[in-house]
């Protein structure tokens, strides 16, 4: 997993020497592992310090937690495949990366939650496992992204990133939506804002989300004119990235709100408005995915 960055850095200058061991050395693996821990911490600290995350850990329906954990595995593998910083030869290396990220996430979440006294020895297994399992979701994504955020961006990796296929771009947008959205999705404020805002303001927020999203998409799509803007029209970019991206964002928002139990017993209008409210940070995250991931 993130070990690759460390190894890659080490391997680049020594590429000429073909007598290098086939495996990376343990030191660069440990550097990568440390990076994974750092990434997990950076990504999930806001959630580790959000009380709703602790509570949802034991109040949420077990089946929803199971679904979240199951979905996490393909998400992490996909992230490993799409990530522009690593070229795994085989899928099984990506799978290994995903599970290392999970191991890092679980250990990190457990340690921090114990220090915070959110977890203690006298708590029942359901509470302990629920809290760790929920926190490990953002932490594992963070561990997976660690090399991107903390590793230096080589021109080679940037090139890899700019040559992504369309589904990969959309996938990265979804991860970007999770990146910002997970910070706020579990909080009471999402529902509170949706109660406070009238329909006109929600409509305004929806339009603002779309406009800002498109601005980001446009700015990110042509960084320093690496792609000639001439061959991609406004509508093509708007429909292919902004609109499709926003639909993906709303679907993710709805899923997160449902997972965190915010949709239970709530009217359709309120669910929709909470989705739009959460959609705002998610849209920014999705559109800026290439910049922040």
């Amino acid at each position: 997993m993130t070990a690759e960055t460390g190894r890659k850095d080490a391997a680049l200058p020594g590429r000429a020497a073909s007598d290098r061991p086939v495996y990376e050395d343990n030191r660069s693996f440990l550097v990568g592992l440390a990076r994974a821990f750092a990434g997990a911490l950076i990504f999930s600290l806001p959630m580790l310090m959000t009380m709703e995350m602790w509570w949802i850990g034991f109040t949420m329906t077990p089946w929803r937690l199971v679904l979240l954990l199951v979905l996490m595995i393909p998400l992490l593998i996909g992230l490993s495949v799409v990530s522009g910083f690593k070229a795994n030869a085989r899928l099984r290396d990506d799978v290994a990366d995903a599970f290392v990220a999970i191991a890092v996430a679980v250990v990190m979440s457990a340690v921090i939650l114990v220090i915070f006294k959110v977890l203690s020895a006298d708590m029942p297994a359901r509470e302990v496992i629920g809290k760790i399992a929920l926190q490990s979701f953002p932490a594992a994504i963070g561990a997976m992204l660690a090399r991107d955020q903390l590793g230096e961006k080589s021109s080679e990796s940037l090139q890899r990133q700019s040559s992504m296929t369309y589904p990969q771009e959309l996938f990265l947008m979804a991860v970007g939506a999770l990146f910002l959205g997970l910070n706020v999705a579990p909080t009471e404020e999402m529902v509170l804002l949706s109660y406070m805002m009238d329909p006109w303001r929600e409509l305004a927020l929806l339009l603002l989300s779309l406009v800002l999203m498109h601005a980001f998409v446009y700015a990110v799509e042509f960084p320093g004119g690496s792609k000639p803007p001439g061959d991609v029209g406004f509508w093509s970019l708007f429909l292919r990235f902004t609109v499709v991206g926003y639909v993906i964002v709303l679907a993710i928002c709805l899923y997160l709100l449902w997972t965190f139990g915010r949709t239970d017993g709530t009217g359709l209008a309120e669910i929709l408005s909470a989705t739009v409210v959460l959609g705002f940070p998610c849209a920014i995250g999705a559109a800026a995915a290439r910049l922040i991931l």
């Binding site: 391997a11 495996y23 999970i102 029942p124």
Partner: protein, 142 residues
């Protein structure tokens, strides 16, 4: 990403990232084990849960201490069900026969399934000479 980036790479993909090292596989195994265990536990928990209602609670007085503002009765409340009680209200009454001499209340944000939480009730009267009753009076479902 398997092929798209290759053309731009100077080595043309001849030397990709080295294969996963044994140490990394060990860690990956641990990760796989951890997530499998969490999923298995949650599935087992979900299957064994029978929509219980948080009614079965147990209150134990831990200690009574006299302080500047009154007498503090520290107690433990334990949830004996698989349901969570939110904003749980606990009331304590000091009685002399049928008459309630003094009442105090404490509120718990959450009492998770099969968990215990500690709280305190502060009385002006010394509970020593009176009968003390502590009982939950209400909760909301999260």
């Amino acid at each position: 990403m398997e092929t798209t980036g290759d053309e731009s790479r100077p080595n043309g993909g001849a030397e990709r990232a080295p294969p996963t090292s044994p140490l990394e596989w060990v860690l990956a195994g641990i990760g796989a084990l951890l997530i499998a265990a969490m999923i298995a536990y949650m599935v087992q928990y979900a299957l064994s849960e029978h929509g219980s209602v948080p009614g079965e609670m147990e209150v134990t007085v831990v200690e009574t201490r006299a302080g500047g503002l009154g007498h503090t009765v520290r107690f433990q409340i334990r949830n004996r069900t698989a349901a969570t009680a939110a904003t749980l209200l606990v009331r304590g009454e000091l009685r002399a026969g049928d008459r309630v001499v003094e009442a105090a209340e404490a509120q718990f944000d959450y009492l998770p399934p099969y968990s215990e939480r500690y709280g305190g009730l502060i009385f002006q009267h010394d509970p020593a000479g009176l009968q003390l009753r502590i009982f939950p009076t209400g909760y909301s479902e999260p």
